[in-house]
């Protein structure tokens, strides 16, 4: 058994080679982290491990053993949305919404390491994620809004 902490809860995964994304989605039923490409290219599966962004589709639970994993479901605190989540709503930064959890997690990680990111820094950081609906301009504005509120 592999011990890890997911959204503050202690969990035990069945085997070290269990894919982290599959573990989160199917074993823990935390389906907010999405499968998009399975190659670490689209960012839909982005979670935070000890505050750092990680492509869950490319990781095993063994690789994050003992770590603190945060998924999109663990972002809101005591019924209050995280400022980044709220900013995505305020800017209508979504269409189908499938990529949005990954974008939000990437943005949270960015704001964690860079409290006042420039528009160019936001663009570069979020270029790791894909939105096929093309809501990029709104996503950019949402992250700028969230950054300004800090």
């Amino acid at each position: 058994m592999i011990a890890l902490v997911v959204n503050g809860e202690h969990c035990e995964a069945p085997a070290a080679d269990r894919n982290l994304l599959s573990y989160l989605r199917f074993d823990l039923r935390l389906t907010g982290s999405k499968y998009g490409c399975g190659e670490g290219l689209c960012g839909a599966c982005t979670v935070l491990v000890d505050g750092q962004p990680l492509r869950a589709c490319m990781a095993t639970v063994g690789a994050v053993a003992g770590g603190q994993v945060t998924t999109i479901e663990g972002l809101a605190q005591e019924n209050a949305l995280h400022p980044v989540q709220q900013a995505f709503i305020d800017e209508s930064a979504m269409q189908c919404g499938y990529c949005i959890p990954g974008f939000i997690m990437t943005a949270v990680a960015l704001l964690h390491r860079e409290s006042e990111p420039s528009p160019a820094q936001i663009r570069e950081a979020l270029a790791e994620n894909m939105c096929r609906c093309g809501t990029y301009q709104r996503i950019q504005r949402a992250v700028e809004r969230a950054a300004a509120q800090r």
């Binding site: 499968y35 989540q85 189908c96 499938y98 990529c99 994620n129 096929r132 301009q137």
Partner: protein, 701 residues
């Protein structure tokens, strides 16, 4: 047909199920219906519940267009209740009215209008009930904020809840009911946040990839290595003994592993020794232009006027050119997935399809059961852009679940989604034009060759909107080595690329500013309005191309909406960069301006991808770029500043907003590249062409 049966309390408005349904006559309609027909003539469209809230029902699905929000706005405004009092129920064959499918940008144009009529009918009934209840003439009453009140004495009022609770009233939708006039809207036309946004930012929104049932088995289906390959034989003895494997199913051409986890199913699938037949085709993407031209058949005249012979004789000058667009992939972020469950002979399938009722018909037919024994639920859908009308994983999951006796999940991975979904037809379009030296176009001959066996795809948007006296536009159906299907605007984007590029070539030849040249050839006021608006937003400064400024323009028409875009490109770096796009859309009455603008912005980004980067590469039936390493789509750092203005008049009926934004994008970019570099790129994607890695040398003259 509603989950809230007509026997339930409240005011029920029933109406015609398949609005505008007539037996399919055109190939478009036949293909769209695929044999699915309405099961009842009437269904409940709207309920005013005993607590005064309302529920509206539509068989359309939400796949990114924001129709849940749009329809909520329309019903709330027409019923005079707050947005929070309206629930819109979508895409479930057990609880919503029959619907042919979510495509062609019809949700607002047709369903929205029908639900507005239902809500207006309900309002009329509530006024009658209020008149009885308050003992006042109905003419003195009005509906406001969920209540019927006297205009004279505001204290004389009754809430909708008071009027309908304890009663069960069923009324028919009145087609001629008076709708709220454009100037009287209180919500429509204002910017309202989506009512399904919280679920999307918290990860609570459930997509078909996310459906997990107790006892569910994960399937991994062995797909052929290429189109046309057939399973010859397979040895699964090792796979069957792998941990977690419940069964290896061999069913005609399907070979599937069923296991307790996705990972176990995938691992077992990799050790199956399967032999496949090899299809004969060795065509590649480089063969496409020739193939399209030489296999073109079934000419279909989409537009004809005057005499081409006269037009060309009269013309001062003639240009003849050929334009080519490769196959591109819809590549939605969510690969198709379905979960099927059998309970007491009744089948439920969760599937992110654009056609839940079509899938129900297909399942009933293929599994030889009654449609009433099938329920299809379309949960949230992670994009599709047209292609999720075809949803084979639904039937695969249903078959496997029936034989396994447990719920089964079938989900495409990225490579499967790219390979086994459909691609936008490759197209080759030849245009010959005759024009006067003052810029009047007098002859227009267009022949479009579109790959695939769905001719209606290629016809869309092939007509010229310019006031040209002598016109003949013909589309042809050509062979396709790949499976073609719907894509945002269907063939509209291809036909617009050819036409608007060609118009630019004429403008350059006669030395006219591209905007001015187009205006000289346009009489239709809605085209002129969008073009003038886009030019104004862009601060277009007149001048003939090539001006070395990198500005380009194009206009178009799709799903009844008028659109124009101006773009600014820069090519100083290693690749073409689109810096700025100004777009104007006239889609008539805009119910939800933020939603419509969001759609146009997304269409522009998608169009930019096809213009600059995207092309399917293949050899034989094998896709060579079935993942995002080699199939490049736009990302955050490629995206220009996009400004969108909605210039439709509120008195004009709503037309589509989800598709038209894409049609002017590729030609405007190509025209801007010409303006900047003097290089006329007649083939997409532009970046590959400029890099010299394209198939231009094989475009037939």
């Amino acid at each position: 047909m509603s989950s809230e049966q007509p026997s339930a309390q409240g005011l029920h408005i029933v109406g015609e199920v398949a609005l505008g349904f007539t037996p399919p006559r055109t190939s478009y309609a036949r293909a769209a219906y695929s044999g699915a027909e309405p099961d009842t003539q009437q269904a409940t469209l709207l309920i005013v519940r005993p607590d005064g809230t309302a529920a509206a029902f539509s068989g359309k699905v939400e796949y990114g267009q924001g129709i849940r929000s749009g329809l909520t706005i329309e019903v709330a405004d027409e019923l005079r209740v707050p947005l929070e009092a309206v629930e819109v129920v979508l895409g479930d064959t057990d609880t919503t009215p029959w619907d042919m499918g979510t495509f062609g940008s019809q949700s607002t144009a047709r369903v929205g209008l029908q639900l507005r009529r239902a809500a207006a009918t309900a309002r009329e009934v509530l006024l009658e009930l209020g008149a009885d209840h308050l003992d006042l003439p109905a003419s003195e009453l009005e509906c406001h904020d969920g209540a019927v009140a006297s205009r004279v004495n505001r204290d004389r009022s009754a809430t909708y809840a008071e009027l309908v609770s304890g009663r069960q009233i069923v009324r028919e939708l009145q087609d001629d009911v008076e709708l709220t006039a454009a100037g009287q809207f209180s919500i429509m036309g204002t910017s309202v946040p989506r009512n399904d946004a919280i679920e999307r930012v918290t990860g609570m929104a459930l997509y078909s990839q996310d459906i997990v049932l107790p006892g569910m088995l994960f399937a991994r289906i062995l797909r052929p290595p290429e189109y046309g390959a057939k399973l010859v034989d397979a040895d699964a003895t090792i796979a069957e003994r792998m941990p977690g494997v419940a069964e290896v199913v061999r069913n005609e051409d399907m070979l599937a592993v069923l296991a307790e986890s996705d990972q176990q199913a995938a691992s077992a699938a990799t050790v199956i020794q399967a032999n496949w037949s090899e299809p004969a085709s060795q065509l590649t993407q480089f063969d496409m232009p020739d193939l399209l031209l030489h296999t073109g058949r079934d000419p279909f005249l989409t537009q004809e006027a005057g005499s081409l012979e006269d037009g060309f004789r009269q013309a001062d000058d003639v240009i003849e050119q050929t334009y080519y667009l490769p196959y591109v992939s819809n590549a939605p972020m969510e690969p198709r997935a379905a979960v099927a469950q059998w309970e007491d002979g009744r089948l439920t399938v969760w599937a992110g399809t654009q056609r839940p009722f079509g899938l129900r018909a297909e399942l009933a037919q293929q599994l030889e059961i009654e449609e009433s024994d099938v329920r299809v639920i379309a949960p949230e859908i992670g994009g599709g852009f047209g292609s999720k009308s075809i949803y084979p994983v639904g039937l695969e999951a249903a078959r496997l679940a029936r034989s396994a006796g447990r719920p089964v999940r079938v989900a495409y991975d990225r490579a499967e989604e790219m390979t086994w979904a459909s691609v936008r037809p490759a197209a080759l379009i030849r245009i010959k034009s005759g024009f006067m030296s003052d810029g009047r176009v007098v002859a227009w001959q267009s022949d479009g060759y579109h790959a695939g066996d769905r001719p209606f795809l290629g016809r869309r948007g092939s007509d010229t909107p310019y006031a040209i006296p002598n016109v003949r536009v013909t589309t042809y159906t050509s062979d396709s080595p790949l499976r073609t299907g719907s894509y945002r605007s269907l063939g509209g984007a291809a036909n617009h690329f050819a036409r608007e590029s060609h118009m630019d070539e004429i403008a350059a030849r006669v030395g006219l500013d591209p905007v001015d040249f187009r205006l000289r050839n346009l009489t239709h006021p809605r085209f002129r309005r969008v073009l003038e608006a886009a030019a104004r937003m862009f601060r277009w400064s007149p001048g003939a191309s090539p001006s070395r400024r990198g500005a380009g323009v194009a206009l178009g028409l799709d799903v009844g909406s008028y659109v124009a875009a101006c773009v600014q490109v820069d090519a100083r770096g290693p690749e073409v960069r689109v810096e700025r796009v100004s777009a104007a859309l006239d889609c008539g009455l805009t119910v939800n301006p933020e939603g419509a603008k969001n759609q146009v912005e997304g269409s522009i980004v998608m169009g930019m991808g096809t213009a600059l980067y995207e092309a399917i590469e293949f050899r034989g039936g094998r896709l060579l770029n079935s993942g995002f390493t080699r199939y490049r789509v736009p990302r955050m750092n490629n995206v220009p500043q996009i400004d969108v203005e909605l210039v439709g008049e509120p008195e004009t009926p709503s037309t589509g907003a989800g598709e038209p934004g894409i049609v002017p994008v590729a030609p405007a970019i190509a025209n801007a590249v010409f303006d900047l570099t003097e290089r006329r790129v007649r083939e997409l994607p532009i970046q590959s062409h400029l890099d010299g890695s394209s198939s231009s040398e094989v475009i037939p003259g």
